[in-house]
Symmetry: C2
Subunit: 438 residues, 2 copies
């Protein structure tokens, strides 16, 4: 099933005036990508690769910026709507001749989670029905005065409009449509209502609009600077993973997200950041291997810095839709080598000063334990992938590198390695028990 | 969907006389499990946990042996057929009053791959249809003179019998049935044909028997000693994994399968074998750490022995239907520790004799490389799980331990560790390239 998407990118976005003087609203950059790029790339991740875009206000700029979509691995066809100052229903109607099958209808200024499209595309349409994505429990950042409201009865939309006082849900601006929408828009425009809601209303009166509940997924309509700030905040918050360890959550992420917010504005690729993080760890290992306290302090700080920067590759990848299996793997492999280098550097530096052969034995123990933690984490994930009942608590890399920094600052290399050796290997055994006793 | 299975275990198995004098054929042991246990455990893996078993010849022995099925985590109900010397259709008919829904019909002496049941259970039955599993390209070990043949037209069975000269496929003795089979058997038995084929023939004449192609899956009807030997051979051959490396394939497996054939007759659990293999590796590490050439030779041989025994846990688990996520993980974790111990032991023993600090650096490099190979193997698998186009060639544990044995026998610990360090780390990099260039 290859569904096309119709994106309405014709409006002026007058309430974002400051930002849209010389630039159409769809091209406003948010965390390194324009709003319309985010909509396209989200839809692409849901499997959509053909787009029809209705442009109007400063439409040429949009066409120039996005081109034929090649850069995004999709195909974009443009329709110009010179009457963009009329209602958005007029913009939708311009695509009437081009779209002959089921299509997804999206707004260039509405951001949303890809999961919504994933489920929406699985909906079976009966006859000439349309489906409207609605939010029954809109979060508090949705401006209810400006939102389009709907009444829902038995999964059907029965009324839609902005001025309703009693309503069941909010219109999220995401639709799965059949050609019936065009006929309905013709009718409502003749009746004087030029909004898309007008057309939907015609269909809903005939019982032909299904409501699709968004559940806990994220969506936002960016109309004001406050919406823009909120969207930025939420996209950043979503970067915190449920599997993040405590050091990552409370120390590394707050810093790495700040760095990532700068990095997304550049062309720096996630894999380049992985390499940078690896080189910071390599530098840390070199300083550790020199053995003197002053170098050890620098090495400890570098190791923690590497740990922080290590978060940025994934963050930038997710913010810019650049995630890849290869990237994730490349990062994981470099991290393991970085771990091995840092612990070896610590052991070598200590041995230089103290000529104590024990350091090699405990170094190998700590190295083995660190590897085992990373190893069992994937094993655990691949086994538990369909079993979300077991908590995935980790004694992970974030804690290890934090302990190394702390131990370095306190000049306790020997005991730091012993502690890491004990904790990592104990964690391996704990994970075995977890799996056995489930 | 919880489908029951009807197992026909009433016959005498006269052509296996030597083996069935005091014992009914379903209880003949094959690689540690009786034939009927294999049928039950195969069906259980396909999700079936309720069984109805028709017993006849020495039926009490079967009932005594299997009990209520608790031991296998299933429920078994028995029906006695005192007329077991009549055709097998009579045995099937005995279950008429007990089975009121769709059920799977199996023979206690037919072994088969679980994949067949998995797909068969997904078949949608229309009305009172039955489905018969057939083999269009029977392997040469199937005795065509004794086999039941079928003619197939457009996925329907149109004729069935033993004496047919022209036929399209062989009846594999696995059925998905509705109640219609009982009515058909009533009819065919009245007409003088007491075989199950007789009943199927009644249904097929009415166009109500679908053919289900077995494709490349394994099945065998065990009627003679030669069938028995063939089944044993094939079940053992199936233990060789497509991911097995060259040393595993040509040296370890041939030996470990021989050991496993003895082990399946005992009550030794797969996890116990994993622990045994770990202790062999631990012993190898201890001998390596002593440093002298004689000890090193012993250590090298032990390391290879550990590698061979390491194959047995999985083989016994698969032969006895004892596979578990925990078992696989337990084995993997112990293997990683065993690897770390052996390389550490080698480094320590060398250092004792030569006091050369370089051995620790190259030891850590080899250890890191070994870990990386195991680490990237799971990462690779979890990423490639749905992409079978990329070959999963491995520089794996089998080769590493073989190199260690060879190096030990040649008294070249230093160079062995260097070679392992180079090869394992080169393999990590090669895998990164593989994934990047796909």
């Amino acid at each position: 099933m290859s569904v096309k998407a119709l994106i309405i990118a014709a409006g002026r976005g007058s309430r974002l005036k400051g930002l849209t003087k010389d630039e159409p609203k769809p091209l406003i950059k948010l965390l390194g990508l324009s709003l319309v790029e985010r909509v396209i790339l989200t839809a692409k991740r849901a499997g959509i690769d053909e787009f029809v875009m209705v442009i109007g206000y400063l439409g040429e700029k949009i066409r120039e910026e996005l081109g034929d979509g090649d850069r995004y691995g999709v195909k974009i066809t443009y329709i110009e709507n010179r009457e963009w100052e009329r209602g958005n229903g007029v913009s939708v109607l311009k695509a009437k001749e081009i779209l002959n099958e089921e299509f997804v209808l999206l707004m260039a200024d509405h951001l949303f989670d890809v999961e919504i499209l994933h489920s929406l595309l699985k909906t079976r349409l009966e006859g000439d029905e349309c489906v409207l994505v609605v939010d029954k429990r809109p979060p508090d950042y949705i401006d209810l005065r400006e939102a389009t409201k709907v009444k829902v009865r038995d999964d059907k939309i029965v009324d839609i409009g902005k001025r309703m006082k009693e309503y069941d849900a909010i219109d999220c601006g995401i639709f799965l449509c059949t050609q019936s929408i065009f006929k309905a828009l013709d009718e409502s425009i003749q009746d004087g209502d030029e909004t898309l809601s007008g057309g939907i209303n015609v269909l809903s009166r005939a019982g032909r609009v299904k409501a699709f509940e968004i559940k806990d997924n994220f969506w936002i309509d960016i109309d004001t600077k406050s919406d823009y700030n909120k969207a930025e905040k939420i996209l950043c918050e979503k970067l915190i993973k449920p599997t993040d360890g405590p050091v990552s959550k409370f120390l590394n992420r707050p810093i790495s997200i700040r760095i990532s917010k700068l990095l997304v504005r550049t062309k720096i690729k996630p894999n380049t950041i992985s390499i940078l993080s690896f080189f910071i760890a390599l530098l840390s290992a070199l300083f550790f291997s020199l053995g003197d306290y002053l170098y050890i302090i620098i090495a400890g700080i570098l190791s923690q810095l590497g740990s922080i920067v290590d978060g940025c590759d994934g963050e930038v990848a997710r913010l810019k839709f650049q995630q890849s299996d290869y990237g994730a793997w490349f990062d994981a492999v470099l991290d393991r080598y970085a771990d091995a280098l840092i612990i070896s550097g610590m052991a070598y530096g200590y041995w230089l000063l103290h000529s104590d052969i024990k350091i090699w034995i405990i170094g190998i123990t700590a190295l083995t334990g660190s590897f085992m933690n990373s190893y069992t984490a994937i094993k655990l994930d691949s086994i538990l992938i369909n079993n979300k009942n077991i908590p995935r608590i980790r004694f992970g890399r974030d804690i290890r590198l934090f302990l190394i920094m702390a131990g370095a600052v306190l000049n306790q290399i020997f005991y730091t390695i012993i502690i890491i050796g004990i904790l990592t290997n104990a964690e391996s055994i704990r994970r075995l028990y977890t799996l056995r006793n489930r």
